[in-house]
Amino acid sequence: MKKYTALLACLWVCCVVASAAEQRLNLFIWSEYIDPGVVTEFEKQFNCKVVVDLYEDAESMLAKVQGGEVSLYDVAVPPDYLVPTMAKLKLLAPLRHENIPNLKNLDTKFANPPYDRNNRYSVAYQWGTVGILTKKNADAPLPESWSVLFDPKRQAKSFVLMDSMRDTLGAALKFKGYSLNSTDPKHLMEARDLVVAAKKRSRGFEGSVGAKNKVAAGQVQAAMVYSGEGARAVAEDNELVYFIPSEGSQIWVDNLVVLAKAPHRDLAEKFINFLLEGRVGARISNYSQYATPNKAAMPLIQPEDLKNPAIYPTPEILKQLEFLEDIGAKSRLYDEVWTQVKAK
């Protein structure tokens, strides 16, 4: 009996010690969103190990953080509309600006954003849009509209929807002519029915990266993706095209945050500061093909990216884009609708 307990205790200690040993940073980030070379550079410069865990949609990240991982991850990358929510849920640690001098590199548009005044909790990482990636079909060109997904008469031959609550419901709302942030239950039910009908004609739900891969492989003709996935797919295959639907779409800003019970808070802030360097910011954006909020990085961005309207939308396109906002307690309505969409 005593021998058993001793053995068990030893095994315990081994497990725990093995996982707590080195100086490390636990990063929770979207897939294909950071250049692995940047991570390695940070590891070398600060003599630590960076453990990278990936997610495909914002709500799943929130679920994990809410479910207890707030004390396990150091840095996460929520979209703009989730930052106020996470702050309200006490999941974020305020940033100590004295540890992040490179904050000054942020473009004025992204410093002091409306969803997080004075960058109390977050620092902009990348920004972009939501649109449609599709294979060009010379004889039967697809309309540059959400009807590619939602209109059975004008839809693509095969498509996938995005496995992301606010993004997909937002697209449905936009197709119907409503705001992306509508909290009217009638609007939401219309959006729900639209998405459920589309789901039955689709080939499933995918994250942006999975959807991009499916279109690139020719397994589906069209998919809803983020602008970076769109730009990267088009760069590899010029038979593909990424467009913003005519009814309007979403523009978003992803942000670096430090979680409230982060085990390595100092290192986390050093990491954020590192990512804000002009050179590093440019490297990230050149890799991910998203737009950078970093004015020190702009001179180092590939010139063809700056001219690419998929990455840096023109003023006309910008007029059609809407930011998602935190809708407070009404987000419960969205959660219910989305649950029904996934469950039907």
Binding site: D53, G68, Q219
Partner: protein, 262 residues
């Protein structure tokens, strides 16, 4: 008894084909030169070489083996003791143990997974030990391994000839000695088989691991699932082929060992 009829043989051949189709596909497509999709694009072995350069795959493999090893050790000890006590001693409530043990076998793994996740998230603010990671995964794996171990060992125990143990007692052996020198060696094949079963269950487990894992404790099944969600690539097929190979080797060696013991 006569040999199987032609009709039976054909039907069975179809069944075998059906069973092995997925395995064959994974192996074949691990040599596909195309990065995406199911279209064949030429033969190559460089995906296998790529595995060694993939730190994620290597750390996942390390986690998987560590997890399986730890949990198998613990569950075999606990399960064997449980089986022995359950079979050899009579005490009230004995019949309820059977029900308790069968629960993890029959419940959907997702129910066990979310139940444990709930336990961990409620307890971890006070006991940092229960924060999601390898320790919590070991706890979870042991929980579903113990019933399997107990049942296998119990089956072995129940099949033992009581005359051997009686003989030992008649010869004057004490309870402890009898256990160490007669019962335990007789139980060994059962214990080993149970350990193998527990090890395999842990290696292949996805659902429970998925819900109880933390940063840096990704296992191979979790890695494969996340990668498949982004699109099946030949390097995942290569990794899967290696895992399949390991399973086949393991199964065959266990079967050979068992035949020797008989």
């Amino acid at each position: 008894m006569n040999r199987p009829s032609l009709r039976l043989s054909l039907w069975s051949a179809l069944a075998y084909l059906f069973l092995y189709a997925p395995i064959a596909v994974v192996v074949i497509y691990s040599f596909n030169a195309a990065r995406f999709g199911a279209a064949w694009n030429g033969f190559t072995t460089h995906w296998y070489a790529a595995i060694w350069d993939n730190p994620q795959a290597l750390s996942a493999a390390r986690n998987t083996l560590l997890l399986a090893g730890c949990s198998t050790l613990i569950s075999t000890l606990l399960g064997t003791a449980l089986a022995y006590g359950w079979t050899r001693f009579h005490f009230p409530g004995r019949r309820w143990i059977s029900g308790l043990l069968h629960i993890p076998i029959f419940i959907p793994d997702i129910v066990l997974a979310v139940a444990l996740l709930l336990l961990y998230s409620l307890v971890s603010p006070w006991l940092r030990f229960f924060e999601l990671g390898l320790p919590t995964m070991v706890l979870a794996h042991v929980t579903f391994q113990i019933p399997f171990v107990a049942i296998v060992v119990r089956a072995r125990l129940a099949g033992l000839d009581p005359a051997l143990e009686e003989a030992a007692r008649d010869l004057g052996a004490s309870g402890r000695q009898k256990f160490r020198h007669v019962t335990l060696p007789l139980m060994m094949p059962g214990i080993l088989a149970a350990a193998m079963l527990a090890f395999t269950l842990s290696l292949d487990d996805f659902v429970v691991s998925f819900f109880t894992s933390g940063p840096g404790s990704t296992t191979l099944p979790i890695l494969i699932y996340s990668s498949v969600k982004r699109g099946i690539t030949p390097d995942i097929n290569a990794l899967s082929t290696l895992i399949i190979l390991a399973s086949i080797l393991g199964t065959v060696s266990v079967m050979l060992l068992q035949r020797k013991n008989r």
